[in-house]
């Protein structure tokens, strides 16, 4: 039984820039089942964060369908969308800029509850806040603290409590741990995992850190310059990467284990920005194994094994 919570179809977001049209997200499609985690991986400028923000329309998508729980969010009016955001929440990367410095912990967590009129009455709201603080592991005594008095890990916990306060179905985690120290990172990842088990949450986990995404996701989608180039179940992707970019990306992770030695694929050149693209594979210029098709036509996502999609001319052959 497939229980689709979110289906994104042909999502596009183009920005106008001085140099031409920037294809930040170009024709991205995927689905997520209820209670699962989709990891979106890629390097800076690949459009992973834009994709996340387009889903909840913090950035207006240029075109495409975002079918969430049976409703196409892209067709909602601004007012309807504001209401719909209750079901989709986002956790931000930077715990130092994602909280209003003038709000105490209590105010920050209570704000979404009051905004969406979920609970009435000062006492009831405060009890709910305390309950949420307990859920995310914040001590009761911090209730009147200001964000600048707290460390990164605790601030990120406030962000999580805020997201949980409206009982969302889907949480978009945009690099939730990359600004944190290793030991704190593990605490937050475990917390997110526990919450998923307990509350049946669905996550979109956006990150550049492959070892984190591997640990955390059911499915992984790899993006490059606004395009999705490969998508597969996590185990399958790590065991059997197909796209040359995915292979290079996987081989580039430094592994903290001396037993683990692997050939590193060094890519030539640098990531460009997706402006005024010719009709060719976006990875063509940096790719180490190309065929004559690659220069002429942009490859499409093709399912080469059950659940394993890849956009590469060579892989399909």
């Amino acid at each position: 039984m497939s229980d689709k919570l979110l289906e994104v179809k042909n999502l596009k977001k183009y920005f106008k820039t001085a140099k031409g049209q920037l294809h930040a997200v170009d024709d991205v499609s995927f689905t997520i089942e209820r209670g699962k985690t989709l990891g979106i991986v890629g390097e800076s400028g690949c459009g992973k964060s834009t994709t996340g923000r387009c889903i909840m329309r913090l950035i207006e998508p240029t075109s495409g369908k975002i079918i969430f729980d049976g409703v196409d969010l892209a067709t909602l009016s601004n007012r309807q969308m504001r209401k719909a955001r209750k079901d989709i929440q986002i956790i931000f990367q930077d715990p130092f800029s994602s909280l209003d410095p003038r709000q105490t912990v209590l105010q920050a967590i209570a704000e979404p509850i009051i905004q969406n009129k979920l609970i009435k009455g000062k006492e009831a709201i405060e009890n709910r806040v305390l309950e949420l603080m307990k859920t995310v592991g914040l001590a009761e005594r911090l209730i009147n603290s200001y964000p600048h008095e707290l460390d990164g890990g605790r601030r990120q916990r406030i962000g999580i409590a805020r997201a949980l306060s409206v009982e969302p179905k889907l949480i978009i985690c945009d690099e939730p741990v990359s600004a944190l120290d290793v030991s704190i990172q593990a605490q937050i990842l475990n917390l997110l995992e526990d919450l998923q088990d307990k509350l049946g949450l669905t996550y979109i986990f956006i990150t550049h850190d492959l070892s984190v995404v591997n640990h955390f996701s059911d499915d992984i989608a790899v993006m490059y310059l606004g395009k999705m180039v490969e998508k597969a179940p996590a185990e399958e992707l790590f065991a059997n990467p197909m796209h040359p970019y995915t292979k290079a990306l996987l081989s580039a992770i430094p592994v903290p284990d001396l037993r683990y030695k692997q050939e590193r694929i060094l890519l030539k050149g640098e990531i460009t920005s997706p402006v005024n693209l010719p009709d060719q594979c976006r990875f063509f210029k940096r790719c180490y194994s190309t065929c004559d098709k690659c220069n002429g036509k942009e490859p499409q996502m093709i399912e080469i094994r059950p659940g394993h999609f890849v956009a590469c001319h060579l892989c399909v052959q």
């Binding site: 290793v182 605490q187 990842l189 430094p254 001396l258 640098e270």
Partner: protein, 336 residues
Amino acid sequence: MDKEKNILLDIDHLTVNYELEDETVEAVRDVSFKVEKGKTLGLVGETGAGKTTTALAILNLIPDPPGVIKGGKIMLDGENVLEKSMKEMTHIRGKEVSMIFQDPMTSLNPVFTVGDQIAEALMIHENLDKGAAFKKAQEMLEIVGIPGERAHEYPHQFSGGMKQRVVIAIALACNPQLLIADEPTTALDVTIQAQVLDLMKELKKKYGMAMILITHDLGIIAETCDDVAVMYAGQIIERGSLEEIFNTARHPYTEGLFNSLPNIADRKERLKPIPGLMPDPTKLPKGCAFAPRCPYAKDSCIDKMPEEIHFGGTHYCRCSRYEDPGFRIEREDIQL
């Protein structure tokens, strides 16, 4: 005796405080380590562990005020850096010791061409005239993998990875004996990070310089370093060769660091984070700074400052629990 000769840098009981208006931050506490010629030492630790302060002290660049070097010696090639005058230091910086900072975006001056910026170091230290220096600058660019003709371009015309290459070219221009790299790839993407690390390893081999690599990423350490020092709350809590630290770690904090990382072999294995938070550097406990977070801690750990416990070779750790002869941490030694 032969080994003593090979020591390039010898830091002895270095202690650095930041004295603020109403409190004192104990940034570096009694740190000692040696770096051999041509070797790479990895300095690992989390935010606030004192890694960067230690590095700045080597260049005598601690901002004063509020930074105060409370004690210790930093012997670079037999001479104490801390006793040098400002003028003598300018001859050492860039020439004997170079430093690469984390953010390539801000370590280049936007109003000069990259060629000029490399040439500047050469003109100061090598007494080259402008033309010769610029020519050498172009050679340096080629070495770090950038076409020489791009020397006439300005930093904003380069991408992040390219800028970090330029920074490396500047650092290496005068052929320093010691290169200090402070999180050199943290601001870069994974594939670019791989390129830059590869380049640094290659150049190190070529020039035979020693390197101190500061990072929080144990993966990078595993790939680039010969020796490792783990810092926590201003102290080196464990030190040893790469194999000793990665295969036979001894300190509970080092164990905690390894356990916090997702296991690449077993993806569903639950992470084992270190509970609690870093201690407030203005209110460090009298005894072991890690004791409040340590699963093995006994009451005595809180009050007693741990001594170095040696395990043979260069490997030691600071943990009082090892005074107990049967004590072992849970992490199993890795047999190669």
